[in-house]
């Protein structure tokens, strides 16, 4: 009931202020998409205890979202290969705008706002060329301004670096085309890479995996306050191999790949869904829904610090004392120094990602 009161209070406050901020709607800590028990796909605002502060309907199954840095607005993306994204006023649930991917493009399901909130960047597929692009949108009217190359094929997650200027893109390397659904068209020649770009599209640095791991698609990202980038991967190669699914990169350095023991690693089915750093930044974790596992590593020495069995775990974000996670079975939980514990259980099937709201963090 608390959350409902907070939500209503938020609405009342919101009606008095022209530009509503996150605090006006009860200061949610996270956004997450889910399939709700009534069969609707919704975007929910969660607070760190696991309470759902609000939920807003989505036209189809969601994937990730991004929160505007100060306005109580979020962009919610359809699952790839969706061609629209919607901007939601999280105070009222109203749709403020709908972004349509230009002809010949579709979204990959991730995007990021600029630090000042005036621009939105989206990862997209130029599917005739089989090349990734970054779309640039004006957040005043949500019109498209321009686009530039993502520096690779199949860009998926994208984050803003702590300098507030540099974009880091997970170019997953996998080519798809809407004519052939989710079929991966280029596995024998795929080449994932991590690309650093400035906001005009100039490539500042590119990092590739060793040749033997060229079928390890770099998909999701987390960035620590000092600029250390964590990336989660999805293995597209021989299933009898169990390569690392987590990597770390500091600009100018070599990549570091982190792996559990072969026995643990072999249960993951080559698939990591989300990645996050802990609140202190001392540990980094990946969720592995196919292996029903969450693996936590120490950043200092790259060693596994904990492996947790969690059914269909996928959403993961930095938490107040470690991490927050969500599962496809309805659990919202916390991972702290004392272990993993369930905060709430609901009938919602939480989707891939749990997105911290920066302004509230």
């Amino acid at each position: 009931m608390t959350s409902r009161r907070r939500f209503l209070a938020g609405l009342a406050a919101a009606s008095l202020t022209p530009m509503r901020g996150w605090s006006a709607i009860g200061a949610p800590d996270y956004l997450a998409a889910a399939l709700f028990p009534d069969g609707s796909y919704r975007l929910a605002g969660l607070e760190r205890g696991g309470d759902i502060l609000f939920s807003l309907p989505l036209p189809a199954r969601g994937h990730a979202a991004a929160a505007h840095p100060h306005r109580a607005q979020a962009v919610a993306f359809a699952r790839r290969p969706g061609t629209f994204a919607i901007i939601i006023d999280c105070a009222t649930g109203a749709q403020i705008a709908q972004l349509e991917a230009p002809t010949g493009r579709h979204f990959y399901g991730h995007g990021v706002f600029s630090t000042d909130g005036t621009r939105l960047f989206t990862t997209e597929n130029d599917f005739e060329a089989g090349q990734g692009v970054i779309g640039v949108w004006d957040t005043e009217d949500y019109k498209r301004i321009t686009e530039f190359s993502s520096g690779g094929v199949g860009p998926h997650d994208m984050r803003l670096m702590p300098d507030g200027r540099t974009l880091v893109v997970a170019n997953g390397g996998i080519e798809t085309h809407p004519d052939t659904g989710r079929t991966k068209l280029n596995l024998p020649v795929m080449q994932p890479r991590l690309t650093y770009l400035d906001q005009s599209g100039e490539v500042l640095e590119q990092v590739e995996l060793p040749r033997a791991l060229h079928r390890n698609s770099i998909r999701h990202l987390a960035v620590r306050a000092d600029g250390l980038v964590g990336f989660a991967m999805q293995w597209q190669g021989d299933t009898s191999q169990h390569p690392p699914l987590l990597g770390l990169h500091q600009r100018g350095d070599e990549l570091k790949l982190l792996s559990a023991s072969e026995a643990d690693q072999s249960t993951l089915q080559g698939y990591a869904g989300s990645i996050a750093f802990s609140d202190t930044g001392d540990t980094v974790a990946i969720t592995c829904p196919r292996g029903n596992a969450l693996h936590q590593f120490r950043v200092s020495d790259g060693q596994l610090a904990g492996a947790f069995l969690l059914d269909d775990v996928c959403g993961l974000g930095t938490g107040p004392n470690g991490f927050m996670f969500t599962t496809g079975t309805g659990v919202i939980g916390q991972l702290t120094a004392t272990g993993a514990k369930i905060a709430t259980r609901s009938d919602c099937q939480w989707d891939n990602h749990l997105i911290p709201i920066r302004a509230a963090a």
Binding site: L185, T239, A260, A307, D311, G339, N352
Partner: protein, 336 residues
Amino acid sequence: MRALVLALSLTMPLGAFAQDRGSILADTVNAHILPGYSALSEATEALAATAQADCDPTSTTLRTAFHTAFDDWISISHLRFGPSEAEDRAFALAFWPDTKGFTPKALTGLISTEDTAIQSTEAFAETSVAGRGFFALELMLYDPQFSQLGSEDYRCALIQAMAKDINLNASAIDADWEGYAANLTSPGEASPYRSENEAMQELYKALITGLEFTAETRLGRPMGTFDRPRPKRAEARRSERSLRHVELSLTALRDLAARLSADHPDIATDLDDAFTAAIERAQSLDDPAFEAVATAQGRFRIEALQQSIKDVRAIASTELGPTLGISAGFNSLDGD
């Protein structure tokens, strides 16, 4: 290092109630997989020998040997695990789709520089997978662009090198299956499959991905969109094998489905009926390279074939999948 393990919940595998899977696994390996790879190995040996004796791209005997071996590949091309994936053998046998024209680029590169890599099997095996295998050989035999390029001697030697490389890959897969078969028929500690259920799931996955590849890629690529059909994207269109690949793959997948559902006669019947409908649609097409996707009428018929394959897939996933302990996790099955 101590890994802390905490079980918050346990999944009850639906397949826990299933009966002994041993006979199904043994039957699928012995009557579906091993004979398929053995046939491919023999046919590619014949192809290599034929090319050695006669490398004229228009030669009927060479083209016949090419078609026979290619047929045998398509009939097992859904079995993408284990020996086929070692050393990129399957990709080296069949580089398709080729969205960025890597195969013609690789061939042009080899021929125009008279690359000496073709003189040794080891060196040729190190060249790009795009310039090897059935699809590269198809261009050499059927694409006019490559019947004139460079010198005749080099083209001949290239065709012979390709045929030999195809045979080496096919026989390596065949030989490795001798040992790999036990992983499926005797799952456990010594096998990548820890239980009969896991072994069954590998075979089920081959069925599902085989159906999806045929519907979405073999048909979906040339279909393109209604406004923009793409007949030139049809698989192996130059040798007019596009529709044939659909028929061959459906026939092979029907055989696999029948074996996997052997202990569930109702499901076996549903699957077989759906396969029959799809194969009959394919056989009634009379459009070997899917050129008709460019016409409204032709496209409609190919779309109907695609739908009939999607129907098979729906039956497999809703009826057969649950009997094998495949429970679709919200995030785990169709991840992103």
